[in-house]
Symmetry: C2
Subunit: 450 residues, 2 copies
């Protein structure tokens, strides 16, 4: 029997996170305040514990993973690396296709990798409560689980329309002991302000962030946690790529190309950064961020200072952005509906060190269904983007006869996204036109720096 | 870091199934026809392939697993064995608690273990299509996946009320390429017969079985597949217990007690039978079937010949039964709402070789939530029964100070059962009164033998 599953023992879980900053040709562009001056790290202490702020600005290559965090991670890590031989056969490609299966976490995606680290450092700092926002619910679930593990109360502001449309994600958070509220609420000034203007507001990620940040900023026992974009979040995800590298060694392989969904960037950074270290050392590996054609921040955005949220509460970050008031079309990959991109990934992309492609929604679901029918696992809509990227390349290899080694990040399963599959199978899923006008309009509103 | 996850390599997947018949003190009571005479194996060939019929009546201890089936099983097997140290700590028990994690299959339960074997043998026999019934959808999903793997068309008759209430399970089956119909349909005589009498029928497992069997019996290219109860189904599940035994060896442990949910018996047989072999050889291990208090076939039923379905199409099997027209209360553990019990398990229970307990619904969900909050994974309502059984014993150990080793079968995850958790968390879930009258009534209608 051909070996297709590559498993690591619990003890092989990485003991350090890899910080890509150490291998970047240029230091990261600083976060700026509204006055155009760099934001001092201390300014972030109001809502983040010191350990995370230090990681946010660190240039150390290796940062040790605390034992308690490693122990929590071993509830589902190391995750399997799988050779997708059935998919290869269905495609008739000479390419070898591997995927890292991050859908095995209790919350169903890679998100708990950073949630447990964030919960741990907050607990160490004497914090008793965490607030966060969630859209589709993946991040809210992950933080609920992590809060439960380390004994922190978690309050999730869930975008109201998702709260109503995705009751099962909401129940999952409650099962792990979290409080979940439909945002906008009347519990914060931000929420009351919106409700006064729009009593029937469906909510938005921007509003939910404002509520969560406001509550955390106003209480000493409470901090805020974010699931993507920031440097420390991407850092915590690098166990994915480190493990994949060891597992590919077991398989006697090394990837020519790596594909990952890319929204805020934690999934891409998690698998790609540890291979970027090799690339920086001269190795030939192509790192491909796959984004939705209808929310194409890397492939169609501009590289400029912008805020991370709709309301403009965050510092200015230099990133590829479609403009912070761009409202992405309603694709099912909710985790990729973000106007901007991690500053680290943006800088690497701007320097031509990583690649990006944009894929339309129906192509991603076509890929997801083919994957489910060959490899069994039903991918999350976000993950379907990585599958689609790998399949495009595998088909190209079929034409050219190249036996490339491809690796992609299966970031999560689609068990809570079956309504999207239903619409696809019913032929009701359409591709959105490229929102050129909305993006052009939104880019007019980029904040002035200084 | 303490080792809590015990993983086997792909190559360590068992290469034989274990047939408990070889170690039973008495041969199994034969299946009987309506005339009271044993049913000849040939009679089953109309809807099952010969290889499965031979397994159904085999007394061989070890039956080789074909390479193609092993290869398909390695998509998710060997499954992990996990020491539930966080649960132990939360309970403050001196007991060691291990669980076998069968929720890792693409369909989310142990059911695909037999689905792939059944699909393989049918394909080998030249069959092109499979029909089956499904209630909550676990089995229909598993057979859809297996049909996809071996290139068989699958048609699922899904109980109409589940079809409407569980659209996501239905979509999952379609994602794996199956046709799914709400039963009763107008495509079979059985269906039309019911619809003529009850145009608004919600359907039942009994009706759905009749439709699936009728179609398979009427077409040469089509066979029928069943997800539990029969000997060959339990046989295919014995990879669970065989793996668990190896993994416990890695942990340097051996179980004092094993707990498994028990409805038709495939989950219990899968984990318990390989340990029964040790018990038959003199080892001290207690095997506990955990059933719902509101559908307590072992603990409150009678040991008698009864049919396996509501309509009476199956042979008579000697089993613990509540009577084939007993309609169990609407508990959320749909997979345990079955009037009878596997003949093999019934006989072992009757001979005092295995144990059984019955647990009320709210206790199972209380156990499931505690498990989710400590070990992360949200168990299926059926699996909550095993968790509850193990927790009862662990609490008893706390009182007595015994450091017993407990093992349970986490048969599946609850991702498609979150509405049940929602009701539990909202305090809306009630325990049903023991349906004494309905059972007494139903037991009046046991078929006359001969």
């Amino acid at each position: 029997m051909q070996q297709t599953r590559f498993l690591l023992d619990q003890k092989d879980l990485p003991d350090h996170w890899y910080n890509v900053v150490a291998d970047m040709p240029n230091p990261p562009a600083p976060y700026l305040g509204p006055d155009g001056n760099p934001v001092p790290p201390e300014a972030m202490l109001q809502i983040f514990p010191e350990a995370l702020v230090m990681q946010e600005v660190s240039a150390e290559r290796w940062i040790p993973i605390p034992d308690e965090v490693r122990e929590a991670l071993t509830m589902w890590h190391p995750s399997p690396l799988i050779r997708a031989t059935r998919l290869e056969k269905a495609l008739g490609t000479p390419a070898k296709i591997y995927f890292k299966n991050e859908s095995v976490s209790p919350a169903g995606s890679h998100k708990p990798n950073t949630a447990v680290a964030q919960a741990y450092y907050n607990k160490q700092a004497g914090i008793r409560r965490l607030t966060t926002e969630t859209g589709a619910g993946q991040w809210g679930c992950s933080l609920s689980l992590a809060g439960q593990i380390f004994g922190l109360d978690v309050r999730v502001y869930m975008v109201k329309i998702s709260y109503e449309q995705k009751p099962y994600r909401r129940t999952l958070m409650r099962t792990w002991g979290a409080e979940v509220f439909a945002s906008p609420t009347d519990m914060t000034e931000s929420g009351r302000h919106i409700l006064a203007q729009h009593p029937d507001s469906d909510g938005s990620l921007g509003i939910a962030i404002s509520e969560a940040v406001e509550e955390a900023a106003g209480r000493d026992d409470t901090n805020y946690a974010l699931g993507s974009v920031l440097n420390h979040v991407l850092l915590h995800q690098t166990i994915i790529g480190q493990e994949a590298k060891k597992q590919l060694e077991m398989a006697g392989d090394y990837p020519d190309m790596i594909f990952s969904p890319c929204g805020g960037g934690s999934c891409f950074g998690g698998i790609a950064f540890p291979f970027f270290a090799d690339k920086a050392a001269g190795k030939d590996v192509t790192l491909v961020a796959v984004e939705p054609s209808s929310c194409p921040s890397l492939t169609k955005g501009v590289y400029a200072y912008d805020v991370g949220d709709t309301e403009g509460l965050t510092p200015l970050m230099k990133m590829y952005t479609l403009g912070h008031d761009f409202m992405p079309p309603g694709i099912h990959a909710g985790g990729l509906r973000y106007h901007g991109e991690s500053a680290l990934i943006s800088q690497l992309y701007d320097e031509g060190l990583i690649n990006a492609i944009a894929v339309p929604q129906t192509e991603t679901f076509e890929a997801g269904v083919l994957f489910a029918r060959t490899e069994g696992i039903v991918p999350a809509p976000e993950s379907c983007h990585a599958v689609a990227g790998a399949i495009r390349e595998a088909r190209r290899c079929k034409e050219t006869g190249e036996a490339k080694t491809l690796l992609f990040n299966l970031s999560g399963h689609g068990h809570f996204d079956m309504s999207a599959y239903e619409r696809y199978l019913d032929g009701e899923l359409k591709d959105f036109d490229y929102p050129a006008e909305a993006i052009a309009e939104s880019l007019q509103h980029l904040p002035k720096v200084g």
